[in-house]
């Protein structure tokens, strides 16, 4: 990899501005919020993000494929053996992520203005959102692992704050806390990984680590440990098995939050991190296989659960988990670019889906159960159209963005392991099915709610619809970023990210490239499969007008699935409860009954012995003299014997 560090004051300055704008927005809204008119908060927030989006665009077209901008602000933790600078660096991968973050971020800000306009916490919401954007940018821009970790935990904090945004509701607060703690579990792994790296290489700087990593290639154990610990972090952040349960609960937050944090950006941080340190992973086949396994398992598992969810946002949440799994499959296969590709497209259509869902919920004044919806296609047409297209994209309908990105991953899987190809194709078929189950139940047929509710339904304001339309466009044409060779176009994204991924290329075994015909066959299989699934869903829910039954009527496997395989309950039973029991045991028993008793016991013993000895003092002179005599006798005897 030939990175040439360009020192251009303008770019340096712009790069610095990118995170500063959201920070500024955060400070302004946070500190001066109460002095400004309520509405302004939204515009300030959005403006800040827009500003940094523009900066990103500028950098995007002025940054060559092999260029890197390094922005070293100041020495952070520096003394013997440790040298961690507070610095940012911008390379193509970063740029892509920044584009997603700021671009999608801006649209969602805009959307939120409409969505949240009558919420009492309007200002606070944008404060948090800006803070999130700031941390997310730090995450993707950080020039070393610790900087990334700042962003990493920062976004965790923001997600905590935003999930619990409506803090009066205890359930929401629990969800928020759950999210934070589960992320923390991953973070511990990340932290330990950093210790290993720091100890091995004496630095946490990405470039340096990438340079030095091969030196320990022969220590498979070590490198695998590092990679796996890092991956644990990714698991926590990107909601993979077994730490995925927080994400569905995280839907407690306002819908734009779900769109931004829990679909488009934050949850993909894990992917970004793996790609960022792809060399480390590439050096450890074991780690890659683990990733692959986890990814596959997650994608199928989540897809299955998705089949039986009736909360519009929960369905999307599980599909997110499943899609993230798919991305990890890509990474596990060593197809880092494909992972990023799917990340980007997914960001588009999943954000769109959430926003659409938000628009639906907005229209229905907070109703989220799809069994109480239906027939909305005429009432909120824009939402319907965009939502439909997004669903097509995610289901892999030919020539839409999702089709290409997914297909690339499938192709890689096919090259390396036919079995994996089968499994993930299955999961993408499932995806297509539950997505359209969702679409049809929501929009098709006739409204199943009360007339009173129906009366209130209306299309959302432009601030909400515009982002929908833009995202819709993106998710339709997003595929252009990575047209496969079949279309006689070179894969743009792959080329753009080559500098990043080349480092690892040499360590990955490359199966021979598929023949075009084979690729076309695969594509058509996937496309046809998707379409068949969609038709099947239509048959089920439109023709037969089937309705998902009430939860309690479910039995057997369905019940299991509807209850998410009781994973939450298992964790509750086997982790939380024991810890609480321990807490009570330690606090109530060990601490009070044992340790404290021992300490007090000493005191008691001393006191009692005093009270006993005291009785010798009988007050009888005869006895005193007697005692003295005995004492003397004892002395003499001691002296005689010794």
């Amino acid at each position: 990899m030939t990175e040439n560090v360009i020192i251009d004051p303008n770019l340096y300055f712009l790069g610095l501005l990118i995170p500063l704008f959201p920070l500024l927005g955060f400070l302004v809204n946070g500190l001066l919020g109460k002095f400004l008119p309520k509405a302004s908060a939204g515009w300030i927030g959005s403006g800040a993000v827009l500003a940094s989006f523009i900066c990103v665009l500028y950098i995007f077209n002025s940054l060559g494929v092999n260029d890197v901008i390094r922005i070293d602000l100041f020495e952070w933790i520096v003394f013997s053996g440790i040298d961690i600078s507070f610095g940012l660096s911008i390379d193509p991968l970063t740029v892509i992520m920044m584009l997603v973050v700021t671009g999608v971020g801006f649209l969602i800000h805009l959307y939120s203005i409409g969505y949240m306009h009558d919420d009492e916490g309007f200002g606070r919401f944008f404060v948090y959102l800006n803070l999130f954007i700031f941390f997310m940018l730090l995450l993707v821009m950080g020039s070393n692992f610790l900087m990334m970790f700042i962003g990493w935990e920062g976004v965790g904090l923001c997600s905590y704050l935003l999930i619990g945004f409506w803090f009066k509701n205890d359930a929401y607060n629990d969800a928020a806390q759950k999210a934070f703690v589960m992320n923390r579990i991953g973070d511990l792994g990340f932290l330990l990984a950093m210790f290993f790296i720091l100890f091995q290489f004496g630095t946490l700087d990405f470039a340096a680590v990438e340079r030095l990593a091969p030196s320990i290639a022969e220590h498979q154990g070590l490198i695998t440990t590092i990679a796996l610990l890092l991956f644990i972090g990714a698991i926590g952040k990107s909601a993979q098995l077994p730490l995925f349960t927080w994400l569905p609960d995280a839907m407690a937050g306002p819908t734009p939050v779900s769109a931004l944090i829990h679909a488009a950006t934050m949850v993909t941080a894990g992917i970004y991190m793996v790609v960022r340190s792809n060399v480390l992973f590439a050096l450890s086949p074991i780690a890659l296989n683990v990733i692959l396994a986890v990814g596959v398992a997650t994608s199928v598992f989540a897809a299955i659960i998705g089949l039986k969810q009736n909360d519009i946002k929960k369905v999307l949440a599980y599909s997110t988990v499943s899609q993230l799994g798919l991305m990890f499959v890509a990474l596990g296969l060593g197809a880092f670019t494909s992972g990023i590709f799917h990340l980007v497209t997914h960001a588009f259509f999943k954000a769109l889906l959430f926003l659409g869902a938000g628009s639906v919920i907005h229209a229905l004044h907070g109703e989220q159960d799809i069994r109480k919806m239906g027939g909305l296609k005429k009432l909120i047409p824009i939402t319907y159209i965009t939502f439909l297209l997004a669903s097509l994209a995610i289901s892999g309908f030919p020539l839409l963005s999702g089709f290409f990105s997914k297909d690339e991953i499938l192709a890689h899987a096919f090259q390396q392991n036919i079995l994996i190809w089968i499994i993930i194709s299955l999961s993408s078929l499932l995806t297509a099915f539950y997505m359209f189950r969702l679409v049809y139940l929501t929009f098709a047929n006739s409204f199943r709610g009360t007339d009173e509710a129906k009366h209130h339904i209306h299309e959302s304001p432009w601030t909400m619809t515009v982002p929908l339309i833009i995202l819709c466009v993106l998710s339709v044409f997003g595929g252009l970023l990575g047209l496969p060779a079949v279309f006689h176009a070179q894969h743009w994204l792959a080329g753009y990210l080559s500098a990043v991924t080349d480092g690892s290329a040499q360590y990955l075994h490359h199966a021979e490239h598929l023949s075009h015909s084979m690729e076309i066959i695969l594509m058509s299989i996937a496309g046809v499969g998707a379409i068949l699934m969609i038709l099947f869903a239509r048959h089920q829910y439109v023709t037969k007008k089937q309705l998902p039954p009430a939860d309690e009527s479910l039995t057997g496997f369905e019940k299991l699935v509807a209850n998410k395989f009781y994973v939450d309950e298992l964790y509750e039973r086997f982790i939380s409860q024991p810890v609480f029991k321990m807490s009570e045991g330690f606090g109530g028993f060990v601490d009070k009954k044992i340790l404290d008793r021992v300490v007090n016991g000493v005191g008691t013993v001393v006191d009692m012995s005093g009270k006993t000895l005291r009785l010798l003092q009988t007050g009888n002179t005869g006895f005193y003299i007697f005692a003295m005599v005995i004492g003397m006798i004892v002395i003499f005897i001691i002296r005689l014997l010794i």
Partner: protein
């Protein structure tokens, strides 16, 4: 030497003063006299020659050296503090005042003899002067049955102990053919293994242990301390205790140093017992004087460490500890006696609410208690430190550990008093403590602070 003579004269003067009806003047006179004697004593510091009487050298009887002068100075100063308290204490029994004062002065005389003795005869006489006078003083509240009891108990056990002491002295005489410390020391260190000497030494030590109230010869002290008039208790627990210890130390370090190995482990056993028993029993006491009696026993234990470790510094450690102990105790009593008087109660509850009613007194009593407990930066702490340091230096490690643990226990009962003052409440009115008492209290507390913060002049006194 002159110190002794003048003190005797002072005692006689008291009696004369009685005859001349100068009761009012007595106490000022004594204080002035003691001050003068104190000066004289200090002047002897460098000019201490052999003791000459009627042209005869009495060096075989007593020697005035820095040791005796230092302790004399301390005890004279103590006596001044105590006499300052007598005025108000005895104001109800004026017709006996002069007698009491005279006897107390004679106690001081005996103490002076004890500091400078160089012959077992002198030791014996000194002890007896002090003891007999104290028997009287302890029983001096004749209508008070408790006082009688205290006096008689003290008398019985005291004379019993004296008899034992005498028996020991006799055996030593039998062994060495002399009463002079020099000769005894010479014989003892000559290495001739004489059982007579050993047994005699043990008996003498038992006698001394009784006088300093060490376990198992301590039984008299709590009862006597509790029963006697408070002022006498002060006298016994401060001046006299120090005097006996000084004598004990002199005996062990000069006379019997030759058989130190023979006596040391007996003594250390006794010291350990004393430390443990004294502190433990004190925990459950509710009567202030009795509490101080037990605490006095435990302090005897600490001082025994000094007696055990007979190095040069040990004497100054003993002196310093004695000083700290004396100051703290007198300071405490200077607060306590008026409280007892006004609240007519000698238990710890008498101090309830003192923190609110008399903040000054409470604060000073607190400081005295802290000093007794050995909390820095008060004198009590440095005193303990020296004693421990010397003991460790002389290799009594386990004994010192016992002492340390014991002093941890000790803290508790000193704090009982403090807690009573600050956490309990009372309906009793404020205590109006006489001016002289306040003065004494302030002097003691200030000194024990000074001694703790700036001990330079006093630490290497000897």
């Amino acid at each position: 030497m002159y110190t002794l003579i003048y003190t005797c004269c002072l005692g006689l003067l008291c009696l004369v003063g009685e005859i001349l009806n100068l009761r009012k003047l007595l106490i000022p006179m004594i204080l002035a006299g003691l001050a003068a004697i104190f000066v004289v004593n200090c002047m002897e510091w460098d000019a201490a020659g052999p003791v000459i009487i009627g042209g005869m050298d009495m060096s075989h009887m007593m020697r005035v050296d820095s040791y005796s002068i230092a302790f004399s100075g301390l005890s004279i100063f103590t006596a001044m503090l105590i006499f300052a308290l007598t005025g108000n204490f005895y104001k109800n029994e004026e017709h006996h005042l002069s007698d009491y004062l005279a006897i107390l002065v004679f106690v001081l005389t005996g103490a002076l003899v004890l500091f400078s003795f160089y012959n077992l005869v002198m030791l014996f006489l000194g002890i007896e002067i002090v003891s007999i006078s104290l028997y009287v003083m302890a029983g001096s509240r004749r209508q008070d049955i408790r006082s009688n009891e205290a006096g008689f108990k003290y008398f019985l056990m005291g004379s019993f102990a004296s008899a034992i002491l005498l028996f020991g002295i006799t055996l030593i005489f039998g062994a060495t053919g002399s009463f002079e410390l020099d000769k005894i020391a010479a014989f003892a260190s000559s290495g001739t293994d004489s059982t007579l000497l050993h047994i005699g030494a043990l008996l003498v030590i038992s006698g001394m242990l009784f006088k300093v109230a060490a376990v198992p010869f301590h039984f008299w002290s709590p009862d006597v301390y509790e029963g006697s008039p408070s002022l006498v208790t002060v006298m016994m627990s401060t001046l006299v205790k120090v005097a006996f210890f000084a004598a004990f130390f002199r005996l062990m370090s000069v006379g019997l140093s030759g058989i130190h190995d023979y006596t040391s482990d007996i003594l250390s056993l006794v010291a350990a017992l004393t430390l443990i028993a004294g502190n433990l029993i004190a925990l459950s006491q509710n009567n202030f004087k009795r509490l101080l009696a037990y605490s006095g026993i435990s302090h005897a234990g600490y001082m025994l460490l000094a007696v055990l470790s007979i190095e040069n510094e040990a004497s100054s450690a003993l002196w310093y500890y004695g000083a700290a102990y004396v100051l703290a105790t007198i300071g405490a009593f200077a607060v306590a006696i008026p409280v007892f008087y006004f609240r007519n109660d000698e238990t710890i509850d008498a101090f309830n609410g003192l923190g609110k009613k008399n903040p000054l007194q409470a604060a000073f009593l607190t400081i005295s208690m802290l000093s007794l407990a050995g909390i820095p930066p008060l004198a009590g702490f440095l005193g303990k430190y020296y004693i421990f340091s010397e003991a460790i230096r002389s290799g009594y490690i386990w004994l010192t550990i016992v002492a340390v643990l014991a002093s941890i226990v000790g803290i508790y009962y000193y704090f009982k008093v403090i807690l009573a003052m600050y956490t309990k409440d009372t309906v009793e009115p404020e205590v109006k403590s006489p001016m002289l008492y306040t003065v004494v209290m302030i002097v003691c507390v200030v000194l024990s602070l000074l001694l703790g913060v700036w001990p330079g002049p006093f630490t290497n006194l000897l």
